[in-house]
Amino acid sequence: MSKMVAKTVARGTRMTKKDMEPDGPGESPRRLSRKALRPDDQISAGLRQLWAVVEQEPLPDEFLDLLDAIDKRRDEGAAR
């Protein structure tokens, strides 16, 4: 797991960085330790991790195209 994800997940919870590390060899790094968290905390941490995973994905080209179109419209407005 990247440091950014670990930091995001740990934000606002009582988790430490160590809690975000796999419990042992071969275990998924996306498993949140149950040792340090209450059930609601686990859900919160998991939801934050879901956010972080998507937020770290590279932007698809469609978004870049859309932003380019916005730039074009803005520039056209400025040229008038």
């Binding site: 996306r30 949140l32 149950r34 609601d40 686990q42 859900i43 941490a45 956010w51 469609e62 978004f63």
Partner: protein, 185 residues
């Protein structure tokens, strides 16, 4: 459109607004993904929200919460188009967790796939409230995004968490009356 063009101040505002749009794209995608659970549909939602926000940029009040404003545009679009048109697909092929027939978590912690599958079982309003709570918004901002009273937000979060907990815990292991005892041979 004015024949004299766009004022420098307006151009500066547009440039700033555009920068804010770029910065919020990852969060928009994450919120949309959480709402509908489908990668392609979520990206469509996020792009529509961006386009709508750009078109309505004059109605945004600088200094107010841009994040909440964008989330509100996206969720309104989700409810007005996706749900009403019944295009809602809980989960797609890139997230096969929805195919599992038995609830997860037989020991260990929470797996993200389990959490995604659990979210898909919630009513959209509860899923939305849980996602917004973890997005960094304050309670009153969540209520503004969801356009409902604060008490309703809290209720949806409480019920959503409870339902997720039950889903993640899996079925209880009570022995049904009349069931044959398990024998180890």
């Amino acid at each position: 459109m004015s024949a004299v063009g766009v004022s420098p101040a307006r151009l500066t505002d547009d440039t700033r607004f555009r920068a804010d749009l770029v910065a919020i794209v990852p969060s928009l995608r994450a919120f949309a993904r959480g709402l509908c659970g489908n990668r392609d549909l979520a990206d469509d939602l996020a792009q529509e929200a961006l386009a709508k926000a750009w078109a309505a940029r004059a109605s945004f009040t600088p200094g107010t919460n841009f994040r909440a404003w964008m989330f509100r545009i996206l969720r309104n679009h989700f409810y007005s188009v996706v749900v009403v048109a019944r295009r809602f697909v809980p989960y797609d092929a890139d997230s096969p967790a929805h195919l599992q027939s038995t609830p997860p978590t037989q020991g260990g912690g929470i797996l993200l796939a389990d959490l995604r599958a659990g979210l898909a079982t919630l009513p959209a309003e509860q899923r939305e409230a849980l996602l917004l709570l973890e997005s960094g918004l304050q309670w009153d901002e969540i209520a503004a995004v969801m356009q409902c009273p604060l008490g309703t937000v809290k209720s949806r979060i409480t019920r959503g968490r409870g339902a997720l907990r039950r889903y993640l815990d899996g079925p209880s292991e009570e022995v049904l009356p009349g069931a044959a005892p398990c024998r180890n041979t």
